[in-house]
Each structure stands twice: as structure tokens, then as C-alpha cells.
């Protein structure tokens, strides 16, 4: 009996979902977003790269990147968004970041270092560390961005999207 | 005394376990199945006998199977005390299985495969208990017996069978876990070892109070010995098929119970320690109480098997009483009584079964004149009864004679009185049956005339009856073995 109730609620939920994603595709909104998004992403990348010198780093940058894509999805709808960042691409990126991090760590093993000992990557341990940190930050950024997008998509998806 | 390292005791235990597997596999071919049982029984008996000469010479056969933890070994030790139980059990297993085949087939029992498998397991465990070299091993086999016989008691799968089996399990498992196990732990902590030693291992290791506590725990924990008030499992286990009752109440279970008591009293505490602390006396009176009360209860039963059960309870306490006297004759008596009572009581149970097979009668009040229908059976019953009452020329007399002597040695007149009283009681609850069977007129509507049970049922009980007689005329073997034990422990 509660089964039926649940069914009913679910349909409401679907309806809700319909309103949730913007049907009205205002020209202004779209153009503004189109213009805005590249800058947001650029800023994200900057935050990632800037991690060594000032505040920020892979995580924060990743989130910003993720937000930019979310914005896109919010404005253009999930279908359009999924066309830009396909499901497979997302899954790939989710794993890719961790892989980058882990592998960078592993690289130093054959070079006689401990795990994650970037110092061993180059002759000058300091530069090695710098390089390693940068790579790691990038890895973090990728994964975080991908995960944020994934979460958003999986939760926002309407049940008839697929 | 010479110590011989040999794996024979291990084989003696494993034979019937192997048989279990084979029985299980050949469940669909009854004759093959029964062949396995019989041959296993014979082989086992053979193995035990093969160890006899060495032991007769006062040797001890030892074998260390595995050591679970430092100080906890599964080890075997064949000495004269152990081999007495082993001989009795393995010999009676042969007969019992013959009887079981006749009984089960003529009653068309169900689940016979499970029956024979559990039977075999129980026997292996009995061997293990008889040959165990330390408390730990004893405990393990003690538990195995409990669990394997559960299936036998619950055999009928009728509600009362199941509930009876439940109670059986609760009593035996419960007491052994709650009392036996901690007793073992305490022994281990104080003595630092669990291996049996003919002078005891606790002597001088534990304060008197502790000794008393541990002894109490052991006595209460070994409920298989049927001491009051933990005897109740015995009657309730009567729902089992008769061969099982015979095995339970004459050989495997109860005898392992009293055997364990003897073993622990003599080989864990040691005569001197107990005598020193003066605990024997209390144990003895405790046993006396059980003897009298159980006999009186037996008097009030109309169900034949129940009466036998209560008689068992009281007879078992003879063993405990005798060993508690801590005198040579007393110990002799207790050890001999293990075997002698086994023969007598198994005969009686076989008879009960035979009557049930032939006439489906369970109650004593129905037995008037049955002696004419089943002369062989009832003569067997007479012998068994006489053995219980301890009338010459039946084995029972021998052990009771030594018991009386032990009481005198221990200067305990009350015990003598108890013995006399219980003898009268025994007579009072067995002789009427014999009288009714032979001299009373059958109840109206009974077809007089000869209707004996199948040969496979009657033959075994005649054999055991003969055994009971033989033990009176040729007690030599038993006596020698007992003497060696006594000479070691006192």
C-alpha cells in the first residue's frame, strides 16, 4: 500500500525535477554564461597553479572548475551538459586524478626514493619536490572537479534522462 | 612401570570415526552399512585387546597426538584403569550393535544411518575418554559423547523425544561448561599442568579451600555420573530407542561419567591429598544420599525403563561412594563395579527392549506371566536383577563385597548400613518383576504361549547375562588390572 504512496510521491518528485532544471533558456543568461565560464575555469586553473606561492591549491581550484561546469549544466540543462562532459569522461577523470597522484608517488621508487619522495625525481631534490607538488596538485584538481560534477549530475538527473 | 610410546590408542579411537564416514557413505545399502559397524566394533576390540598384555605387565602406553597450546595437549595414556573401561565398552559395543540391528530392523525405525553414525562417534569418544592422558583430552571426549548422543536421544523426533533430548543436552552441556571447564582452568592455574598422575597433581599446589572448591566443581560438573541433583537428564533420556538407552545407561555415557570421577579423584587430587583434607568423607555421604533417594524413586516407577534408569542412578553412586572411601578395597570395588554394573544393566535394558519388540509393552504392571511367553528373555532379566542386588553367583556380589570391605577399612559404619539398606531396596524393586513374570497369571485377554523376540535381540542379552555370571566365577582378569591401579595410587 505504501508502495503506491511511494510511487505517487515519486511522480511528484519527477515533476519537481522538471521545474528544478531551468526550462526558460533566456538568451541573455546563456550568452552571459558562455562568456563567463571560460574566465571561471581560467581562474580555477590559476588557483590550482598558484597553490605553491599563495593561498589556494588543487582542491580549491578543482572545486571552482567543477562549479563552472555545474553552472553550465544549470543553464543549458543536463542533456546539453552531458554532451560536453560525457559520463565516461567524468568517470575517467574521477579515477585519473587519483591515478596521477598515486603514480607520481610510485615514480620515485625505481629512482631509489621512498613512496611520494618527489625529491628523487630530479637531480635537484628541491626542484623535484616543486615538480612533484605541482603534479600532485593537478591530480587533486582533476579528481575534485570531476567528482563535484559527477555528484551534481547524479543527484540532479531526472529519472527520464536516461 | 614401563612407558611405551605407541599410536595404537589413537587408532583404537579413530577406527569407529572412520566407520562413521563409511556408514554415512553406504547409507543406501543397509547390509554393507551394518557390516561396517560390526567390523569396526571387532577391530576396535581387537586393538584394545592387543594393548592388554603390555598393560597387564604394569606398563603404560602413551601417545601425544597434538599440542593445542603449551600445557594443553591431546594425549593418550593407556593404563590399567583406562583399559578396563575400554575393554568393557568395546566388547559391549559388538553385542549392542548386533542387538541394535535386530531391534531397529524389526521396529522399522527411520534414519538408521544417522543412528549408526552417531553410535560409532559415541564409541570413539568413549575410547578417547578411557585413554585420555589429561583433563583437557578427557573434557573434549566427554563433550563429544554428549553431542553425539543427543542425536540418538532425539532419534524419534517426536515432541517428547525432542524435549527430552533438549533437557539431556542442557544438563550435560550446561554443567560441563559452567562447572567442569572452570574446574579445569583452576586446576591448570594451580597445578600448572593437566596431565594425570597416579599420585595426583594438585597435592601441595593449592590451599585446602581451593581443593575443596575444585573438587566440588568437578563432581557437579561431571553430571554424566548421575549424582543428585544433576541426575534428572537420565530419566528424561529414556525416550531414546532401547539400544541407545542400553549404551547410554550401561556403557558409554554414565560409565564415562563415573570413570571421569574416579580418574580425577585418583589422578588429579590423589588419595593422600583428599585423605589429608578429609574430603572423601563428604563425597561418600553425598553419594550415599543419592543411592538411597534414587532407589526409593526407582521403587515408584511403573515404566520399566524408568525404573532401570533410577536403579542406574543409585548404582553409579556406588562407584563414587567406593572411590570416595579412599581405601584399597574401596577403589577396587569402584573400578570393578564399572564393568560389572555395565554387564548387568545392559542385560536388563536389552530385556526391556526385547519385551517392547515382542509385545510393545512398556509398563511393569503389564508384565504378569510374561516369563512364560519369553522364557529366555526373562531368565536373562533375572540374572541381571540378581547382579544388581548383588546375590551370588552373579558379578554384582564381588564388587559389593569389596565395597563393604572398603567401608570397614575406612571405619565408616553408616556406609555399611546404607549398603545394606540399598541392597534391600534393590531387591524390593527388582524381585517383584521376576515374581510377576514367572508366577503370576497373565492379564485377561493376553495370549499365553511362546512369543519370543527375534534371535538377533535375544542372543545378545543371553550373552551379556552369561558375562555377568562369568564375572563372578572368573574375576581374575578384572581383579589383576584393578590391583595394578590400586598399587599405583595408594
Amino acid at each position: 500500500m505504501n508502495g503506491k504512496a511511494a510511487e505517487k510521491h515519486r511522480h511528484e518528485a519527477l515533476a519537481a525535477g522538471h521545474e528544478e532544471l531551468p526550462r526558460h533558456r533566456h538568451v541573455i543568461g546563456r550568452t552571459v554564461t558562455k562568456i563567463l565560464i571560460p574566465f571561471i575555469q581560467l581562474f580555477g586553473l590559476y588557483v590550482i597553479a598558484h597553490g605553491e606561492l599563495g593561498p589556494g591549491g588543487g582542491f580549491q581550484g578543482g572545486v571552482i572548475l567543477g562549479v563552472s561546469v555545474m553552472l553550465y549544466i544549470l543553464v543549458f540543462g543536463l542533456k546539453e551538459g552531458s554532451r560536453r562532459v560525457t559520463t565516461n569522461a567524468r568517470d575517467l577523470l574521477v579515477s585519473a586524478g587519483v591515478l596521477i597522484f598515486g603514480v607520481i608517488g610510485l615514480l620515485s621508487l625505481p629512482l631509489g626514493g621512498k613512496y611520494l619522495q618527489y625529491g628523487a625525481l630530479l637531480d635537484d631534490p628541491r626542484m623535484g619536490n616543486h615538480l612533484g607538488i605541482m603534479g600532485v596538485e593537478i591530480g587533486i584538481g582533476i579528481t575534485v572537479a570531476a567528482v563535484m560534477i559527477t555528484l551534481f549530475c547524479e543527484i540532479v538527473r531526472r529519472d527520464d534522462d536516461d | 612401570m614401563s612407558i611405551i610410546e605407541s599410536a595404537v590408542p589413537l587408532y583404537a579411537v579413530l577406527v569407529s570415526l572412520l566407520a562413521t564416514v563409511l556408514i554415512g557413505l553406504s547409507g543406501r545399502y543397509p547390509n554393507v552399512r551394518e557390516t561396517w559397524t560390526i567390523s569396526a566394533a571387532l577391530v576396535k576390540f581387537g586393538l584394545v585387546v592387543s594393548m592388554l598384555p603390555a598393560v597387564m605387565k604394569g606398563g603404560v602406553i602413551q601417545y601425544n597426538a597434538v599440542s593445542v597450546l603449551p600445557g594443553l595437549n591431546i594425549a593418550f595414556r593407556v593404563d590399567s584403569l583406562g583399559i578396563i573401561l575400554a575393554l568393557t565398552a568395546s566388547f559391549l559395543w559388538i553385542i549392542t550393535s548386533l542387538y541394535a540391528i535386530g531391534y531397529m530392523r524389526s521396529l522399522e525405525e527411520h534414519a538408521q544411518t544417522r543412528f549408526y553414525m552417531c553410535f560409532a562417534v559415541a564409541l570413539s569418544a568413549t575410547m578417547g575418554a578411557a585413554f585420555s592422558a589429561n583433563v583437557f583430552t578427557l573434557f573434549i571426549f566427554y563433550e563429544i559423547i554428549t553431542v553425539s548422543t543427543y542425536a540418538l536421544v532425539a532419534h524419534d523426533e517426536t515432541p517428547e523425544a525432542v524435549s527430552g533430548a533438549r533437557r539431556y543436552l542442557t544438563y550435560l552441556l550446561g554443567t560441563s561448561i559452567i562447572f567442569f571447564l572452570p574446574a579445569m582452568v583452576l586446576t591448570y592455574i594451580y597445578a600448572g599442568t593437566l596431565d594425570f598422575h597416579s599420585q595426583g597433581i594438585l597435592a601441595g599446589k593449592a590451599p585446602a579451600v581451593m581443593v575443596a572448591i575444585i573438587l566440588l566443581l568437578y563432581i557437579v560438573g561431571i553430571a554424566k555420573a548421575g549424582m543428585m541433583p544433576f541426575h534428572l537428564w537420565l530419566p528424561s533420556a529414556m525416550v531414546a530407542p532401547t539400544p541407545v538407552s542400553a549404551l547410554l545407561h550401561a556403557v558409554a555415557v554414565v560409565k564415562v561419567g563415573v570413570f571421569s570421577v574416579v580418574r580425577i579423584v585418583l589422578y588429579v587430587f590423589g588419595v593422600d591429598l583428599l585423605a589429608g583434607v578429609g574430603l572423601g568423607v563428604y563425597l561418600a555421604y553425598f553419594a550415599c544420599l543419592t543411592i538411597i533417594v534414587a532407589s526409593i524413586m526407582a521403587l515408584r516407577q511403573d515404566n520399566l525403563k524408568l525404573r532401570l534408569a533410577y536403579s542406574t542412578v543409585s548404582q553409579l553412586s556406588y562407584v563414587v561412594l567406593a572411590v570416595a572411601l579412599l581405601t584399597p578395597s574401596g577403589i577396587t570395588s569402584s573400578i570393578m563395579h564399572i564393568t560389572i554394573h555395565a554387564f548387568g544393566k545392559i542385560t536388563l535394558f536389552f530385556v526391556a527392549g526385547a519385551i517392547y519388540v515382542a509385545t510393545h509393552k512398556k509398563y511393569i504392571s503389564q508384565l504378569n506371566g510374561i516369563g512364560r511367553q519369553m522364557p529366555f528373555t526373562m531368565s536373562g532379566f533375572t540374572v541381571g536383577a540378581l547382579s544388581m542386588i548383588a546375590v551370588p553367583p552373579v558379578g554384582g556380589f564381588v564388587s559389593k563385597w569389596y565395597l563393604a570391605m572398603g567401608a570397614v577399612e575406612a571405619h565408616m559404619l553408616p556406609v555399611l548400613i546404607v549398603i545394606a539398606a540399598s541392597t534391600l531396596l534393590n531387591a524390593a524393586y527388582f524381585l517383584p518383576i521376576v515374581y510377576a513374570a514367572f508366577f503370576k497369571e497373565p492379564l485377561p485377554g493376553e495370549s499365553p504361549g511362546f512369543q519370543e523376540a527375534p534371535a538377533l535381540v535375544v542372543a545378545p542379552l543371553m550373552l551379556t547375562a552369561a558375562g555377568a555370571l562369568a564375572l563372578f566365577f572368573w574375576p581374575a582378569l578384572l581383579l589383576d588390572l584393578t590391583r595394578t591401579v590400586v598399587s599405583l595410587v595408594t
Partner: protein
């Protein structure tokens, strides 16, 4: 003064979040709460944390909450029930913590054990060893890089979990979520 005001405001927000009955409202207040939190971090010179808090607490979390709220159309029951058991446990926790706080070193005290033991080495060596001026980043990515690997793993775990739980594939008729389908059929 501001150091008193901001935390106080946090507490107020917190209470409001919990006791406002309209979920949309309380989510909104929660995002405000996060923003104030971020400001507090800035006050405490934890810039990286501030950025993160702002982008995650006020950004992502809020979005996710709103999305779920929209999907579930959830309204909290009009009247709340006071739960004594919960209150007791809560008070116990508070008591224990208060007890423990009693002899914690004073805030902002420059010579507490942490500033004496490991940290000085970070600060003095960070640039020499890693060539990174942001010590936070240096520690995050190099000295305690392994923790960060774990952190990334946590994130991707969350991602994978979300996919595992929520994703549905086209044409898979019987499939509509990992659980609950037997439940629904009842």
C-alpha cells in the same frame, strides 16, 4: 570585539539552521553559516581553509542540498518533538568537552607545544626543501602528502559511491536503484 561577534553569530546561525522548520530556509541559513565560518578563517589567517570553506561549504554543499531538497520535495513536520534522550547525551558531551577545555593552553598563546615542536622545522625548511613559499601547500603536498593522497581517495570514493548508488542505465528496465525495489513492490 569582532573576534567575539563572529563566533557568536556562528552560534546564532547554527541554532537557527537547526530550529527553522522550513528546509529551504535552513539550507540558506546554513550557507550563510559557512560564509561566516569562512570569514572567521580569514580572521584566523587560515586563508586556504577560508577559500575551501567558501567554495565547498557555501558553494557545493548548498547546491547539493538544494538539489536533493528539490528532488524530494521535503517539508519538515510542522511541529518538532523535544527529544530528552538526545538532550541528555548532548549535555553529557558538552560537559566532557568543557571539563577537558579547562586546562587547555590559552588561545593565541605563542608558546604552546605545537609551535615549539614540529612546525618550526616546516617553516624554516619548507622553502629550502620544496621550493614552495606556501607552507600549507608544502606540508599538504609533500611533508604530509600521504594524508593528501588519502584525502583525494576519500573524494573519489564519494564520487564512486554516488555513481554506484544513483546511476541508472538506459534500457535496464528492472533496474531502478540498488535497493528498495523489493520494498516498493510490497
Amino acid at each position: 570585539m569582532i573576534d567575539i561577534a563572529i563566533p557568536l553569530f556562528l552560534v546564532i546561525c547554527g541554532i537557527a539552521v537547526v530550529f527553522v522548520r522550513d528546509l529551504f530556509g535552513s539550507i540558506m541559513i546554513f550557507s550563510v553559516y559557512s560564509l561566516v565560518m569562512a570569514i572567521e578563517w580569514v580572521r584566523l589567517n587560515a586563508v586556504d581553509v577560508a577559500i575551501t570553506e567558501a567554495s565547498v561549504g557555501a558553494g557545493i554543499s548548498t547546491v547539493l542540498f538544494l538539489a536533493v531538497l528539490g528532488k524530494t520535495r521535503s517539508r519538515e513536520a510542522p511541529k518538532g518533538r523535544f527529544n530528552p534522550g538526545a538532550m541528555i547525551i548532548t549535555v553529557c558531551l558538552g560537559a566532557i568537552l568543557l571539563y577537558g577545555t579547562a586546562d587547555l593552553p590559552a588561545l593565541r598563546d605563542p608558546n604552546i607545544p605545537p609551535s615549539a615542536h614540529v612546525v618550526p622545522e616546516y617553516i624554516s625548511n619548507a622553502y629550502k626543501e620544496t621550493g614552495v613559499t606556501n607552507v600549507v601547500t608544502a606540508v599538504l603536498a609533500s611533508y604530509r602528502g600521504y594524508d593528501t593522497l588519502g584525502e583525494v581517495t576519500v573524494v573519489s570514493t564519494a564520487g564512486l559511491c554516488a555513481i554506484m548508488l544513483l546511476r541508472r542505465v538506459a534500457g535496464d528496465a528492472k533496474d531502478s536503484g540498488p535497493a528498495g525495489w523489493e520494498g516498493l513492490r510490497k
